[in-house]
């Protein structure tokens, strides 16, 4: 029996096959999923902002850089090998736009960029990325197969 484990906002969880990790209602936030295909373990973080710099003492799972570090540490402590880790991500939308007022900094895009950079820094390949747009996403990550299912309200459902 597989268990569905919910990852809250600014939260992260790890799991073993056959369990599923879920995070609901991603807007500009991003769900980062890591997976060791050999050991069939994985983890998910629901990050809200690109970097923890300048906001010391806060919850590290809130930021792309510190959350990824935490996630890697936690998964490798379960026996996973960092060099085998693969990543997928979803989210990073721009939910609202005001006519005549282009947003100066799209936080969703910045989040996606930060996650990409941090993954590169750690040498973890990004196998799939479903980011951007102006709609929310709920994601299910199967840590056994590494399949990421992305559900939306009005933009269909897909598996990457």
């Amino acid at each position: 029996m597989s268990v569905v484990i919910t990852v809250g906002m600014a939260d992260f969880k790890t799991a073993k096959m056959p369990d599923i990790l879920l995070t609901a209602g991603l807007g500009s936030c991003i769900g980062i999923c890591l997976h060791d295909p050999f050991l069939k373990v994985g983890g998910m973080a629901h990050i809200m902002l690109p970097t923890a710099s300048g906001s010391l003492g806060g919850n590290p799972a809130k930021y792309a850089d510190t959350a990824l570090e935490l996630l890697i540490k936690e998964i490798t402590s379960m026996g996973a090998n960092k060099s085998r880790l693969k990543a997928k991500m979803a989210g990073g939308a721009q939910m609202f736009s005001f006519p005549g007022k282009p947003p100066v900094l799209k936080i969703g895009d910045r989040n996606a960029e930060a996650v990409g950079q941090e993954l590169k820094k750690h040498g973890i390949p990004l196998l799939a990325s479903d980011v951007g747009g102006s709609f929310g996403r709920t994601i299910h990550f199967d840590v056994g197969s590494g399949e990421l299912r992305i559900r939306t309200i009005n933009h269909g459902e897909k598996v990457v």
Binding site: G27, M95, F96, S97, G136, I153
Partner: protein, 198 residues
Amino acid sequence: MKITQFQLDALREIANIGSGHAATALSTLLQRRIDMSVPEVWAVPFEQVSSIVGQLDTPQAVIYVKVEGEAPGKAVFFFPVESAEIVVQALFGTEEPMDIYMGEMAQSALKEVGNILVSSFIIALTQFSGIPLQPSVPALAVDMIGASLDGIFLEEGVLDDTVLFIDTQLTGIPKIEGQFIFLPDDGSLKKLLGAMGV
């Protein structure tokens, strides 16, 4: 800033007046009775917002208005989709289903409802505090509530460990539910409270 109990009470009083005006406006618009809860003032980490709005991927119609002026902030009004449909039908005087996800008519009607609600809230706030405030044009999303709220709260790319916001529930007879959130920007709270001498 640290908020004292006295200041919290003052904020609740502002919210009470503002939300009362908004509820009256909605009631007039829809020609039906609207009840309003006693506003709550929350100072919580944003990540705990699900304890206030429920399931993060429930679809809701969210109308977002920026409050501009000397004490800027954000005002957000949201309805569960079923309520939003009822509101739109009431406005158009029809029993036909209306597409609030894509339909242009339904969406502009929802924006207008949000506009009226938020404007009446802001007018009350301005009268009460003497601080001039203006609403922006409204923006609308009919989508997962968690996604819409994170888009609003994180828009500037910064987030304090706790966010302070004012929350009021509106209930219409029959079958309308809505929720109003006012989120003062950093510094605005001090101005609003200062203007009231607390």
